[in-house]
Subunit: 428 residues, 2 copies
């Protein structure tokens, strides 16, 4: 039997589920893979804490460094989360020549280039299938199966919390705050939901997707992001009437201006495959000249799906150990220019509260025109002496769009820029 | 530079596209993967035939065996199709210690166990990502990323021709023969469409999916299949009114009766993710306790998507060669009992042409009851003295359902069993 000793950094939801499955499904995994996977050490802060799984008492340690260096540990699984101390521990394990499996998108987005280089130097694997899309196989397809494709764009619903909130808002007309409260009640959102609702979680995943899709390192600093806390049920309704669904997307593109990654709410045409992804489900949509389009959809979070992804990586890393060789470099980064977000062509949906008198539309159209942004469609709804204008622009560089918005917002006849959300559609 | 010499068996649509891309994208692939992939020999029947790609004249050979044994060839790509001589050539290459990449579902479904064993014995890779789902990454996710999941069911639209035909019939009310003609005009269907429309192509893919998902070899002989040539626009319309879409599915299940794979037209609830897959697109839907459900969708055929899948495998196999080790066994088969199709619980939609007189429904219901099949719903439409009965049964063993159908068909009051199609829904 091919025995592999596993050491875990962390034993929270994902770690606990993983340990439970390594124990209860030991025989099934052995039959399917020929591997005898043994949990040997578990590094935690508080060994006395009640856990959902059972392991022999002596297996816990509060000294992660000794766990990493334990000769009985062949393979390190990092499921403690957060950038540090996880990052330094992972780096240490790789330098010691031990392959690492991690579910930590924050860490990979922040220090992925350094860690991948350390793994390559030691000739061991660094695998992170669970870091994006939870249980959806996406890292391996992107970095291996599609290695021969010139991917042009990856768009993903990579945060289940926000997609759940947007779905409630769209389907029931729930206000943002109420939908967030429901998500918190169901455990989909944290007590402090900032990382999810303001887009930071999705930005880390977008950075990873962009780096893998385009083979160039895109650090988290290069991913402008905004979240959904400013999205209103009103705009969701207006967008629907115009033929769009509002989703929070991570978008990674290979543009003439360079490689780009960004996260923000987006109006997507109803018939786009990502528009129909409901609730906490995640989905990733890949475009390329040969494959045309691919869609991957499934559970983006949760202990069970994430543990499945981690387990797949553990099995893969174990095979490499037994083969005595790294079939890497799995991931190589070539230098490439990153696009300035201001140069990326975007389209906008803008909702303006304006005075309802003749000449207003002409003034607004002129302001857009001066900023070199042309208007695709205008829809006007009057209410007493104020009117609502819904404007969808044609594609123009992001900087011009923002400039146009500022100018329009300063017009006397414009009482408020009530909303401004980017639009992703195939048209110019 | 890490140079790998490639020999091709066949240079048709997929092979030609692959050669073209290996040449035109050589630098891009090298930058992304560190590999210098060189086409060295191409074995074809007729070197004089006009081709869509250019290679030096001396690269062609009509002697595939000499190509396999050429020391300049490190890796063999089989894209000639068909069971033989492809099978013996692939076996020979593996025995010679050369990894093989193939897109040949027919071959893998027929001789996969033997070829996988030969690959393992020689310690080289046998990769076939392109054999199922064309450009959709599915083989690697199933056999690697999901290696730690106890998959319960895989359902797939794995034949684009039939999905195109069914989509035309559903959306435009086109008759089967006309929709087939359109598919042939567009090149989606062969002049002899039998393998597609009668389900044999899908059966080979279902056999492969079942074997990988459940880790037990399911030979093509164990995949009962039927196609769509008996599906009428009338039944598609009736099914729609009852809340279902008709799709040709490959279904692989781990049941209490054993592992099962089958292909037939199916009534799927409108809200099932596979119901919305239109045209020639393929999609695979995977269920398991931890991942819940995963959906993969994309182009199931065509030179370009298929070449992308082959190229991903080539890159993977090349990495193994350079690492000097096989990180296999990628796929292991453990013995497991295969289910007898007659024992699998199925549900049926049945359309009967019956005499329109009192007592007929009672007679029919009694006949179903005698065969231990209970009826879930009945919908009747009268036309003069004949009536149409649409019956949906509850779940019962396939053998009982077939038995019930025979008995009902023999009743005097039943003029014809106009249609009988299985139903897949979550309810009993």
């Amino acid at each position: 039997m091919n025995t592999i000793g596993i050491g875990l950094l962390g034993a929270g939801t994902v770690g606990g589920t993983l340990i439970h499955r390594l124990v209860t499904e030991h025989a099934a995994i052995a039959a399917k893979t020929g591997l005898d996977l043994q949990v040997r050490r578990v590094a935690v802060r508080d060994p006395a804490k009640p856990r959902s799984f059972e392991i022999p008492e002596g297996m816990f340690t509060t000294d992660p460094m000794s766990m990493i260096e334990d000769p009985d540990v062949d393979l390190v699984v990092e499921v403690m989360g957060g950038q540090e101390p996880a990052g330094d521990l992972v780096l240490r394990a790789l330098e010691t020549g031990k392959p690492v499996v991690t579910a930590n998108k924050e860490l990979i987005a922040a220090r992925g280039d350094e860690l991948i280089a350390a793994a390559e130097k030691s000739g061991v694997a660094l695998l992170f299938e669970a870091a994006v899309g939870g249980g959806i196989p996406i890292i391996r397809p992107l970095s291996e199966t599609l290695a021969g494709e010139r991917i042009t764009r990856v768009m993903g619903i990579v945060n289940g919390t926000t997609n759940y909130i947007l779905t409630r808002m769209a389907e029931e007309g729930t206000a943002y705050a109420d939908a967030l409260g429901q998500a918190q009640d169901l455990g989909y959102a944290e007590p402090d939901p900032t990382a999810d609702v303001e887009g930071a979680d999705a930005a880390a995943k977008a950075a990873i997707l962009a780096s893998l899709a385009f083979g160039t390192w895109v650090g988290l600093d290069h991913v402008p992001h905004s979240g959904i806390s400013q999205v209103t049920a009103t705009d969701i309704r207006y967008a629907r009437d115009l033929g769009y669904t509002i989703k929070l997307l991570g978008i990674a593109e290979d543009t003439p201006q360079g490689v780009s990654a960004r996260v923000h709410p987006v109006l997507l045409p109803h018939d786009h495959p990502l528009s129909s992804i409901r609730g906490a489900t995640n989905a990733i949509f890949i475009e390329g000249p040969a494959i045309d389009t691919l869609l991957f959809a499934g559970p983006g979070a949760g202990g069970d799906p994430t543990a499945t992804a981690v387990l797949g990586d553990v099995i893969d890393a174990a095979r490499e150990i037994l083969a005595g060789a790294q079939v890497a470099p799995r991931i190589r980064f070539a230098p490439s220019s990153l696009a300035d977000f201001g140069a990326i062509p975007t389209k906008w949906y803008v909702r303006l509260e304006v005075e309802d008198r003749p000449g207003v539309l002409a003034q607004i159209a002129a302001a857009f025109g001066e900023a070199s942004v042309s208007i695709k469609s205008v829809w006007q709804e009057g209410t007493d002496d104020e009117a609502t204008l819904l404007i969808v622009t044609h594609r123009a560089p992001e900087a011009d769009q923002e400039n146009a918005l500022r100018t329009v917002g300063n017009l006397d006849c414009v009482n408020a820029v009530a909303a401004a959300i980017r639009v992703e559609s195939e048209e110019a």
